[in-house]
C-alpha cells in the first residue's frame, strides 16, 4: 500500500519539481545530490531497480539525476 516503487517515484518527482525552476543542469545536479544526501541506501537501491526496469513515472530531470547518481555509486 505504501512503499516502493510508486511512493519513491512520487517522492523523487516532488524533489524534481522544486529544482525545476533552476534550469535543467542545476536541477539534475540538485536532485541527485539531494537523494544522495538524504535517502537511505535501500531506498536508493529500490529506485535504481525501478529505473532499470524502465523508470515508469519518473520525470525527465529526475530520470537523468538518478542515472547520474547510479553511475557515481
Amino acid at each position: 500500500m505504501s512503499s516502493s516503487p510508486d511512493k519513491l517515484v512520487y517522492m523523487a518527482n516532488q524533489i524534481g519539481k522544486f529544482f525545476q525552476s533552476q534550469g535543467r543542469d542545476r536541477a539534475v545536479q540538485g536532485i541527485s545530490e539531494h537523494i544522495w544526501k538524504f535517502w537511505d541506501p535501500r531506498m536508493r537501491k529500490q529506485i535504481f531497480a525501478h529505473l532499470d526496469a524502465g523508470g515508469t513515472g519518473l520525470d525527465p530531470d529526475v530520470r537523468d539525476a538518478l542515472q547520474k547518481l547510479k553511475q557515481q555509486a
Binding site: S2, S4, I15, K17, Q20, Q22, K37, F38
Partner: protein, 958 residues
Amino acid sequence: MSLIQETDFGTPKSKSETMVTLTIDGNQITVPEGTSIMRAAMEAGTQIPKLCATDMVDAFGSCRLCLVEIEGRAGTPASCTTPVMPGLVVHTQSERLKQLRKGVMELYISDHPLDCLTCAANGDCELQDMAGAVGLRDVRYGYEGENHVFAKSHGCENDNWMPKDESNPYFTYDPSKCIVCSRCVRACEEVQGTFALTISGRGFDSRVSPGMNESFLGSECVSCGACVQACPTATLTEKSVIEIGQPEHSVVTTCAYCGVGCAFKAEMRGEEVVRMVPWKDGKANRGHSCVKGRFAWGYTTHKERILKPMIRERIEDPWQEVSWDEALNFAAAKFKGIQQKYGRDAVGGITSSRCTNEETYLVQKLIRAGFGNNNVDTCARVCHSPTGYGLSQTFGTSAGTQDFDSVEDTDVVLIIGANPASAHPVFASRLKKRLRQGARLIVIDPRRTEMVESPHVKALHLPLMPGTNVAVLTALAHVIVTEGLADEAFVRERCDWSEFEDWATFVAQEKHSPEATAIMTGVDPKVLREAARIYATGGNGAIYYGLGVTEHSQGSTTVIAIANLAMATGNIGRPGVGVNPLRGQNNVQGSCDMGSFPHELPGYRHIAGDAVREQFEAMWNVKLNNEPGLRIPNMFDAAIEGSFMGLYVQGEDILQSDPNTKHVVAALSAMECVIVHDLFLNETANYAHVFLPGSTFLEKDGTFTNAERRIQRVRKVMTPLNGYADWEVTIMLGKAMGFEMNYAHPSEIMDEIAALTPTFAGVSYARLDELGSVQWPCNEKAPEGTPVMHIGGFVRGKGKFILTEYIATDERTGPRYPLLLTTGRILSQYNVGAQTRRTENVVWHAEDRLEIHPHDAEQRGVRDGDWVRLASRAGETALRAEITDRVAPGVVYTTFHHPDTQANVITTDFSDWATNCPEYKVTAVQISPSNGPSDWQKAYDEQARHSRRIAPVVEAAE
C-alpha cells in the same frame, strides 16, 4: 540548600545609558537616568517599605508606604514614582516618615484578618513584613468598623464581604485578604497582556474583579500565574501552598513544555514540589510563565505513571512486570535476533525532543555505534525538519537567528503559521508588550488566531487558504522587488549578487504578483501589498514562524522563501530583526543539534564526511556506517515492506503524533520488537513489546536547548520514581546489547559533546552555572555564546537566494472532500496531551473540537456542540463541532491533544519534498452530522484497553 530569594527592586530597570548620581541616606549612588528613588535605594542595599510596588510592573504610587524626604522639596513624595535626579539628597527614614508609614499600616491592618498563624502566606507575606518593618504595635481603630474581613458584622450579613473564589484549579482568590494594591491587575496587563483583571468600584468599595465580576475560571483569565506571583498577601495563593505549606529550598531548572524554555525555581519541601515559580533571571522568560509550566506539573507524580519495566511476546498479551535486568535482556535479545535475521539495518530508534541533550546524544550514539547503522530520527522530522534544511541552505545554520530579547527592538513583526498566544505563550506576552508600545503586526494564517486580535493589539491579517504559503511569500517578494523596496546595499555586501538578480527576475514575473495569485491564496492583493511595504520599510522587521510553515508539501520551500524575504530587506544580523522558528517542544532544537537526524552527526555534519566521522569513530572506538539511515516515515514504509523490524522509541508518542494513524498502526504491527521508553502507557505502547519506565524533568540532571539556541540546565529535585534517569536507562540498554557507554554524570556527556562539536566547544556545566545559560555557537570566538547570529556576514559566507516556485499540494479538495482541514494547538494542552491531560488543565480543554464556519455548518445542518463525522481520503473520526468565524468558509480546524479524537486518522501521507515532514496542515475533508464516535474510534478504544492490561503478579507458593 536554601530558598533562593530574588531581590525585588520595586520598579523595573531603566535602559538609559546616561548615569545620574544622588545621595541616599548619606551614601552616594550612581544609577541610570529614569531609575526610581526606590530602585536606586535598593541597589545601594536600602529597602524602603513598600506594598504596591514590585519590579515586574511599572510604579503605581498607591500604597503611600514608600514615602521619602528630599532636601529642598516640599512634602513626602513616593519613592517608587519619583525618578532620580543629579544631586538629590534623599532621606528614607525620619520621625515624620515613621509616623506616616505607621499610620498607613494601621489603616491597612484594621481591615485585614489577623489569622496569620493559619494563613497560607505565613512566612511569605509582604503585609506581615511591612507591619514589622514600620514597627506597628497597635491598631487604634479596632476591627469592628466597616470591613471586608468578616462574613457577618454585628450579627448582620456584611455586604462588603465576599467568599473565596476557588474556581481556578491551581489558585484561590480570597477577597477578604486583599489590600487593593493592584499588583495583580497590573501584572495581568503589563506582563501577561490579557487584561482579564480590573479594579471595580471606588474608594472603600474597590475590589479586584476578573472580567465583569466573574469567577476566575469564567473570565478571560488564562491562568498564567503572574497575578499570583505579584500578590503581596494570601489573596491570590497557589492551592499547592495552601495544602502543603511554605517551601524550604529551591532549585533553578528549565520547563519541559514548549520551546520557549522558561527558567523556573522549583520550590520544594524535601522531595515534594510545593510550587514552580518563574525565575526573574531566566533570559528566555524574564520572570514570566504560562499555565503549563507554572501549574501543570502534576503529571510527574500521576498514578498512571508506569514505574516498573514490562515485557510481552505479542501485543495481544497482557504486560508482565519484570525486573530491569529481565526487561533489558529481553529487549537486547530481540534486537540482536532481528539484526541476525534481517540484517544490521533492520533496527533503529527515535530520540526524544522532550528529553535532555545528553539523553538524546546517547540514544543516537547507541544507534550509530551500538546498532551499527544510522536509523535514528526524532520528532523534529514531523515539525521543524524543513527549518533545518531551509535555513542551512540559505544562511548556513539550522537554527533561529535571534534571542527573545530581540523583540524589544522590533518595529514590524511578521508571524507566519504560528499562534504564539496558544503555543508559545510567554514569548507571546513579551511580543504583545512590544506591540502595545507601538510595533506593528502582520499575521499570515488561515485562521483568525488570538494573535490577530487581542487587547490593544490589532494585526494586519492575511487569511490565506491552507497550502498556499509559497504563493503568498513569493507575492510579498514580488511587491518588494517591483516597488524597489529591497535593501540593495545589504544584498550587495552580504549575499551572492547574481543569485539575487536571478531571484529578483523570478519573483518579478507577473504570475507571482498578489493580483495574479489571489485566486489561489484567497488573500486580498491590497492587503498583501500593504503588508509587504510595512515589512520592507517599517524599520526593524522580524519574522516568527511555526508549524503552519513547515508542515506542508512545500515546507522547506516556504522556509527558503522566508529567508529570501529577510535577506532582500536587510532584516538579518542585528537585534530586532531576523528569522525565528518557534520550536514546538522543549528540546526540539537540542535534539536536532545532537545529531538525531539520520544523515548527520551532532552539529549538523553529514555522515558521509570522512574527517568528521573519523573524529567520532576515534572517540567512540567503533567504525561508523557512512550512509544516511531511514527517516521516521521511511521507517514505517520499510517496516511494512519487511526490512525494518525493531524500534526503540524514547519519549515520543509516534502513533498519536504522526500522520495517517492507520499507516502507523500497520507499520508498528509489522515490527517484531518495539521498545517504548516513556512515562505512561502512551498510544504507541499499545503496539510495544517492551516498556521501559521513563523519568520526568524533575528527576534528572541535563540541559535543554530552546528556540533561541539557548542551552539551559535541567536540575534534579527528586529521586526518579522509576529508579533511573533516562540517560541511565539508555546506557543499561546499550550494555545489555554489548555496547558499553561509561558516564557517571550527564556533565561528562556534555564534555564529550563539546569535544566533538565545534559550535558547543565552550559549553560545560561549569560555564552554564557561571552564566546561567548560553546560546550556541559557544566557542573560542564567542566564549559567552551568540545571542544574534550572522552579524556582519552569514555563517555560510554569502547569503544564498533560492527560487521558490509555488507548487500546489496534491492533497486537493473535490466534490467528495470539499473542505480543507488544518490543525493546531490550544494554550492549556501540550502536544499529544500525555502530560497536560493528566493535570487539572483539562478544565479548559476536555476534548478536541472541530471549528467550522457558520456558512459551512448551516449547509450541513450542523449546530454548535453537535457530533460530526470528519472524513478524509485517509480515514474518519468523530468529534464535536464549534461554530465560529475564526475560520474562513471552506476551512475547518481542530487540535490534536486527545487520543480519543485521533485527528491523525484523518491526516495523509503527503510530506515535504525535502525532508518528508508530514503535511499535517492541509487535508481535504468532508463533514456530516453524526451520532457519536466512529466505528474506528470504538475499535481503537477497544484495542487500547485490551493492550494496556497488566497481568497480576502471582506470589510464589511456599
